[in-house]
């Protein structure tokens, strides 16, 4: 299932974390935007939200280790960040993920 990384534009396996200061809205908007855009580009993605309802859709170590890349769309420090010690992380402000998701995926190549 793992995509072929050598080929530009090929399907990737992504994990992501979204989090914002109040955890009420932007966390979820960013998650939705990442899921929507990843799907459009044919990538597989699982997004963990760290918001007012706590950690949801939590990423397991296995899932993280098996992914090609982690995306942090956050306005506050990521909780349990040690899980991501071994993976390449692309970090950006949460509002960038909401407003310009395409630019993130453009960078993936």
């Amino acid at each position: 299932m793992v995509g072929n990384e050598s080929e530009k534009g090929d399907a990737m396996k992504l994990v992501a974390v979204t989090a914002c200061p109040t955890g009420i809205a932007h966390t979820y908007m960013a998650a939705e935007q990442l899921e929507k855009t990843a799907k459009k580009h044919g990538h597989a993605i699982k997004v963990e939200t760290q918001g007012s309802m706590g950690i949801e859709n939590e990423l397991t170590q296995e899932e993280i280790d098996g992914a090609d890349l982690a995306i942090f769309a956050v306005g506050i420090p990521v909780r349990n960040i040690e899980r991501f010690a071994k993976i390449r992380v692309l970090e950006m402000p949460v509002q960038d993920a909401i407003k310009n998701p395409e630019s993130i995926f453009a960078k993936l190549g």
Binding site: T22, I24, M29, E32
Partner: protein, 835 residues
């Protein structure tokens, strides 16, 4: 030999003019001398002199004594003892002191920023007003042009006495024309200063000693009393200095024909009156229709002027040093007494803020009133009559205006209290007739006098009792005082020809008491027939349920009476054997004791089994938490303090009977009152916001012209809808979030949001602006569609958060945003956002 009564001074506000004048009235009835001694300070005062008593500067807890000497000393001792135990502790009405000036609260956003001239003080009476300033100067009384004229000492004494008599007469005349209430009481306090033997004595002494003029002697006397009071540790007593100066100024004005200071003040157009300080009589002399607000540099919240301002609902801010010099004549002022501040020459944006603020507050008041006039009925159609407790025709009128559907308890003790002569039939008839007219057909339950116990009556000379609540009171007295009860019943019967009156007897514990009263009513009806007087032959006769024994003979009582009303205060304390005034056991006093809730069920079911009507008229009726229980019981009526009617009605109208019945069954099974209260609070919370959004918090046309105004408008919408109780705090929380990074999400949409303790109900509010505003920076991100999300700091349960998270996710999709922008009306928006 002198007799002595030791006692501890009971009044919270010390010995001030009102209790002192009552003390003087009672002491004055005896020939013996009565000296008041404060053993703490060593001060001695003539018990028959209000001023001398006030000048004793006595504070709560001071050890005191009365020393009584003279021919009727034994009688005086008994009378004063009774007065001190029974009446005096109740002489001090609780001062309603608005929020103490603690740390100044932060200002709402609109009032921050430079170039604003804001003066902060102490709120003495709440409200908001805007008008041009009128400066009132208070002239210290001084000599007339040409100096103080001076005659012989005897002449001058005679002049002073004549002026005092004139002043008394004019104060009495004003008291007669003043409506009962605060103004009347204050005039009475001033009258007692003017009539004070010590005051006149001191003036005379000064005159003879110093060979000065009457005017100088008056000023000297006022100064001496003023010094004593100013030196006292009590803020309240210090503020009485103004009362003495006020009376002195009037006496001098009368003596020398100079016009009263107040007469100089003319307020002919709406104005904010600004003064260094304002004497109560000057305030009374103002044309109150035009006084929009009062701003004073001196004076506290307990001055008589402040009390008057509250009584007339005029916003008042005091304690702004020098404000009378800072403000220019006719300067535009906004007085925000709710925030204890005054804004001088406000700029346009502040004016706009207050226009909206006033409109919002007016709306909130109107909605409460509109609400108050809807019938008492549950959301599923069960009727619960919501009536008022009252004690005067004025209160009855106000209660009906405020949404009462009847009067469930008209107390008549007040007609008897504080009177030298007991009221006769005609005086009572006038009152009951007025009440019947005010009610225009709505039911009024008049309770015959409940005197004794906590409401002693000096003129009945009931000997002091060890245990007055278990003693000689109410219906138990009637046999000894047939003239009193006959006069009262005749008055009620005659008034029953004019309206829907019912008569109710207090403190009934057995059948024979009811039979005796019914027999008496029949006899009185015969007399009235013989006299040709009109009355309602079918007047319903009922009893209070206060004594637990009644609960066990309801079958017998139902054969004799037409209705019952539960007096929950006394019933609770008799049933639980708790004296609520006894601090050591007061915590045991609660109507939410499961045993008491079961007792109520037994009583209400018992009465209904016999087809009779039953209401409740204790404090429990005014507790919004208890309202669902009454629907659960199926009681016919609750009667409460008029001011609580809107809140209780609001709860009743939200309740569903099956829920209330289930709630009642579950709380009756609980083991302690705390559990009951928690269950009632949970139920109350469930009645409030279950909906995150309703059409009331969607507005599709707004003229807000900036991000600031738009956010404030949204917060105000939630405030007006009862979803936010601290709009300034919520506004701040939203801005704090905006400052992290603005919540504009492009496409003309922004979703400001916050979590704050100022939020009572989690909400989503929507505002569409007529013209877009800049959200982030000028020329960037214009926003026209705002969705404000507010979450209570204490929000528990994730249900709302889930909905909001879902909403946030959907907003990412353009089709959804387009649907919102194109929505034809609030209903569509609610449908879109709710799911």
């Amino acid at each position: 030999m002198a007799l002595e009564i030791p006692f501890t001074f009971p009044l919270k506000n010390g010995m001030h003019a009102r209790p002192a004048s009552r003390f003087q009235d009672v002491a004055g009835a005896y020939r013996s001398s009565i000296t008041f001694v404060n053993r703490q300070t060593g001060a001695r005062a003539n018990g028959k002199s209000t001023l001398s008593l006030v000048a004793s500067v006595t504070r709560q807890g001071d050890p005191c004594a009365l020393i009584i000497e003279g021919e009727d000393e034994e009688e005086a001792r008994q009378g004063m003892q009774r007065f001190l135990t029974d009446e005096f502790p109740g002489c001090d009405e609780d001062l309603v002191i608005p929020q103490a000036p603690g740390s100044p609260r932060s200002l709402p956003r609109a009032l921050r920023g430079e170039n604003l001239r804001i003066e902060r003080g102490i709120a003495a009476s709440g409200g908001i007003a805007r008008a041009p300033a009128v400066l009132l100067s208070r002239r210290a009384p001084g000599p007339p042009p040409g100096g103080w004229p001076k005659g012989t000492a005897d002449d001058e004494v005679a002049r002073v006495l004549a002026a005092v008599r004139d002043a008394q007469a004019s104060m009495r005349a004003r008291m007669d024309s003043a409506p009962r209430g605060v103004e009347h009481d204050i005039l009475r306090a001033h009258l007692s200063i003017a009539s004070d033997p010590e005051f006149a004595g001191s003036v005379e002494e000064t005159l003879r000693l110093k060979h000065c003029s009457a005017g100088e002697a008056l000023l000297e006397t006022a100064r001496r009393y003023g010094e004593t009071l100013s030196a006292s540790g009590s803020v309240y007593l210090r503020e009485r200095v103004l009362d003495i100066e006020d009376v002195t100024a009037r006496l001098i004005a009368a003596l020398y024909g100079v016009p009263d200071a107040g007469a100089h003040v003319q307020v002919t157009d709406d104005a904010v009156c600004v003064a260094e300080s304002l004497a109560p009589s000057d305030f009374i002399a103002l044309d109150r229709r035009h006084v929009r607000a009062l701003v004073l540099s001196q004076g506290g919240v307990t001055s008589h002027t402040a009390i008057l301002a509250r009584a007339f609902a005029i916003p008042c801010v005091t304690g702004i040093p020098g404000i009378h010099r800072t403000v220019r004549r006719a300067e535009d002022l906004i007085v925000d007494a709710d925030r204890a501040l005054v804004i001088l020459s406000p700029p346009e944006r502040v004016g706009r803020f207050y226009d909206r603020e006033s409109r919002k507050l007016a709306l909130m008041r109107a909605s409460l009133e509109r609400h108050a006039n809807l019938p008492g009925v549950s959301s599923d159609g069960k009727r619960l009559e919501i009536a008022a407790n009252a004690a005067s025709p004025e209160e009855v009128g106000a209660a009906f205006a405020g949404g009462a559907e009847g009067v469930g308890l008209f107390r008549t003790e007040m007609l008897f209290m504080g009177k030298e002569e007991l009221p006769g039939e005609e005086e009572q008839y006038a009152v009951y007739a007025e009440v019947a007219k005010c009610a225009s057909g709505r039911p009024v339950i008049i309770r015959t006098f409940d005197i004794g116990g906590d409401k002693p009556l000096p003129s009945l000379r009931i000997p002091p009792e060890e245990n007055p609540f278990l003693g000689y009171r109410a219906i138990r007295l009637y046999a000894e005082y047939p003239a009193l009860i006959n006069a009262q019943l005749r008055a009620i019967l005659r008034a029953s020809a004019l309206g829907n009156l019912k008569v109710m007897f207090p403190m009934v514990c057995s059948l024979h008491e009811v039979r005796a009263m019914k027999k008496l009513i029949l006899e009185l009806m015969k007399d009235l027939d013989a006299e040709g007087a009109a009355f309602n032959r079918q007047i319903p006769v009922g009893i209070m349920v206060e004594i637990p024994s009644v609960a066990f003979i309801l079958d017998q009582l139902c054969r004799e009476v037409d209705f019952f009303s539960i007096g929950s205060n006394d019933l609770t304390q008799y049933f639980l054997a708790v004296d609520r005034a006894n601090r050591n056991v007061a915590s045991l006093y609660t109507p939410f004791h499961p045993s008491f809730l079961r007792l109520l069920k037994q009583i209400i079911d018992g009465v209904h089994r016999h087809g009779k009507w039953i209401g409740l008229c204790g404090e429990m009726g005014g507790n919004p938490l208890a309202a669902p229980l009454f629907l659960g019981y199926g009681i016919d009526e609750i009667s409460l303090s008029p001011s609580l009617i809107p809140a209780v009605k609001d709860v009743v109208r939200r309740c569903r009977v099956p829920d209330c019945e289930a709630l009642l069954s579950s709380v009756m099974e609980m083991e302690d009152p705390e559990g009951v209260e928690t269950a009632l609070k949970d139920h109350a919370a469930s009645l409030r916001g279950s909906a995150l959004i309703t059409e009331d918090i969607v507005r599709l046309s707004s003229q807000s012209a900036s991000k600031d105004e738009a956010i404030r408008e949204l917060v105000d919408m939630l405030h007006a809808d009862g979803r936010v109780d601290d709009p300034d705090a919520v506004e701040d929380a939203v801005w704090l979030r905006e400052e992290t990074y603005p919540t504009g999400m492009g496409y003309g949409v922004a979703i400001p949001h916050c979590k704050s303790p100022g939020v009572t109900v989690n909400s989503i509010a929507v505002l569409k602006l007529d013209a877009p505003v800049f959200w982030k920076m000028p020329d960037q991100d214009p926003v026209q569609f705002l969705i404000l999300i507010t979450i209570a700091a204490s929000a528990k349960g994730d249900e709302h958060l889930k909905i909001i998270a879902g909403l946030a996710r959907r907003l990412v999709h353009e089709e959804f945003r387009q649907q919102l922008m194109d929505a034809a009306g609030p209903g569509t928006i609610v449908d879109l956002l709710e799911h």
